[in-house]
Symmetry: C2
């Protein structure tokens, strides 16, 4: 096991009828910037519950944060926050709203207007502080409600970049599974796949003698497989949604990656597919991961059979299990209604391979647990997604 540091100060309040408890965790005198997305919270009752919980606190609303939150749009919230002397950020929504709110929280007190520098890590002035952030999660998947990560897009330049900071852990996150009841099935499906791939990125690498982290990761995968299809049912099943929500949080609260190598190739490629073709985040992952695993099956020759045996109950020799495990995973995604080929979206794999390869060549990007996923390997992976 490698050395590591673990720190996660987010307070989670989980369960039915818990939104009212915001009142206990936001200062009574707070001036709150309430961030949300397209407005679905106004139809499903979540908005009203939050407003009631905030009581007499001053609230300024900032809606319209879309999937793959746009830097230029978020800068408007930062300007409002500075002007109005906001002192608490509350995100009500899924991972995109929370990720956007994280940039807002660190951007408001940041000296100067080049907030993009925070995202790219190229800041001449390192951010030293952030406004306190709370979240009410309405869409499980990204894990942003319990980590210090954020992914921000810049539509004007077709960029999508991740940043991490200890400043942006939410102080409190409310996880009420009933808030997911009005979600379109597609968004629930996306959340399941996103969480599943998060686990794979931290688990399916090379072994470093970390049996506990392996079991923790496998436990999340098994749970998602067990409850995945039930979580898509209508009318919604509380327990399935609750187990999905808690699994997705645990998939990326950074516990399972302590002391072990991580891959994240699928996410790096996926971000570009979203930037180029507008695929949903989870959709972009599902058209990459099976082919990454196939291309790197030799490097992952210990963990891939372990995954097949323990998570899919397969038996046989390692090579057979490895290819069967990849097929089982793809079939699981497909059963949830998630395609696993670029061609399903009428995207030409060869063209995608060329575009993404060029982007990574320009940036000099290499990925993977062994830093051996060159732009050429990326192209090889994408060409298989047909």
């Amino acid at each position: 096991m490698n050395n590591f540091e673990y720190y996660n100060p987010t307070r989670i309040i989980f369960g039915q009828q818990t939104i009212s408890r915001l009142n206990n965790h936001i200062p009574a005198s707070a001036k709150v910037l309430m961030c949300y997305g397209g407005g679905s919270i106004k139809k499903n009752g979540v908005y009203d519950q939050v407003i009631t919980a905030l009581g007499k606190r001053t609230i300024i609303e900032f809606g319209g944060i879309e999937p793959n939150p746009d830097y230029d749009h978020l800068m408007k919230a930062i300007a409002i926050g500075r002007q109005e002397k906001i002192d608490f950020i509350l995100a009500v929504g899924g991972g995109s709203v929370i990720d956007g709110a994280k940039l807002i929280a660190v951007g408001i007190p940041y000296p100067g207007d080049d907030v993009w520098a925070i995202v790219c890590g190229g800041h001449s002035v390192k951010p030293k502080t952030a406004l306190p952030l709370g979240t009410v999660l309405t869409l499980p998947g990204t894990g942003s409600e319990m980590n210090g990560n954020s992914v921000i897009s810049r539509h004007s330049t077709r960029e999508k970049r991740a940043f991490a900071s200890k400043l942006i852990f939410p102080k409190i996150s409310i996880l009420d599974p009933t808030t997911t009841f009005s979600l379109p099935q597609k968004q629930v499906r996306n959340g399941i796949v996103d969480a599943y791939v998060h686990v794979i990125e931290q688990y399916l690498t090379y072994p470093v003698n970390s049996p506990l982290q392996d079991r923790q990761a496998e436990g999340i995968l098994l749970t998602l497989q067990e409850i995945g299809e039930r979580a898509l049912e209508t009318p919604p099943n509380y327990d399935a949604r609750a187990n999905l929500m808690w699994s997705a949080t645990n998939a990326l609260n950074k516990l399972i990656c302590m002391g072990v190598p991580e891959d994240w190739t699928t996410h790096s490629i996926g971000h570009e597919l979203t930037a180029f073709y507008g695929l949903d985040h989870a959709e972009s992952l599902a058209v990459v991961l099976p082919y990454l695993l196939w291309v790197k099956r030799d490097q992952k020759k210990v963990k891939l059979p372990q995954y097949g045996r323990r998570v899919w109950g397969l038996s046989g020799n390692d090579a057979e299990i490895s290819s069967q495990a990849i097929e089982e995973m793809s079939r699981f995604f497909n059963r949830l209604g998630m395609p696993t080929r670029l061609t399903f979206y009428d995207i030409d794999p060869d063209e995608a391979a060329k575009s993404v390869r060029e982007r990574f060549e320009k940036r000099g990007s290499v990925f993977g647990e062994k830093k051996d996923i060159t732009p050429g390997v990326v192209a090889q992976i994408l060409r298989l997604s047909r």
Copy 2:
């Protein structure tokens, strides 16, 4: 799944050669009360590493904190802390030292001298603050390095009581597995069994549809079984000790008990056996748990077979698996050198049953996930331990 709240702000620094990093996490101007046990840290190099890490900070030492830390002894540290205006508590040792340091941390700023009231929860003045606490863990087992719990004994009255407070989470805990290399084999064995029983207390209850928490718990049990015997080997195996240390921390950092019922009967009875007969904490657990499970096998009729199937790979009907699982667990403890019968210690089970029953009757104590372990049931359990 039940509603829950999760909050754990302890920063964990894990791995070889990490004690020096105390320097980054304790204020440079701190006046440190350094708490430790019988002095083994002076022989194995840990003391020197800590002193070096603390550099020019003022250090006042308080050694001699024994297993089952004694209230009256700890009160001396509280008096010193108040007199010397200590502002940081550093515990260097195992669970007893850390538990003792937690009482010291909350006791120093507590108004008044009835600090025992904090332990019993009968305080007229609720503790509002605690000094910051850091730990250097040298003996894995209790999980105290990453939770807000403490168990304090009062030798003068033969009492042993647990208390919990959000004030006593360590700010930072250093987990360097090499600090365990000089431990007597018996203490390593105790740590494995203690951690194992912690998991069972939170897992082997009645089902509430919490598949992830089940898998997380089973993952720790499987890991302890996998590495347990190797962790006892001489010369010490780094990976086995590292996996033991991280498993023991995860066994009681309160993640696996979120949203699920908990038992803790074994601990409640075990504390009394330690108070009456001086058994090591882990020894007291191992002579109770098998018989509790047998007596309550009907109530635990879903989880006990699940434990047998998933953790021990057993097959058959539920009743067979349940009794086999209890036997497998006992045999595992025995393989580690841990007895599972009171008679091994020349303690008369009937006498123990009588003494502990009377104590609980006097207190009006009942335990268990269904609060149905009356003093009479306690006696029934102890009489079986022969």
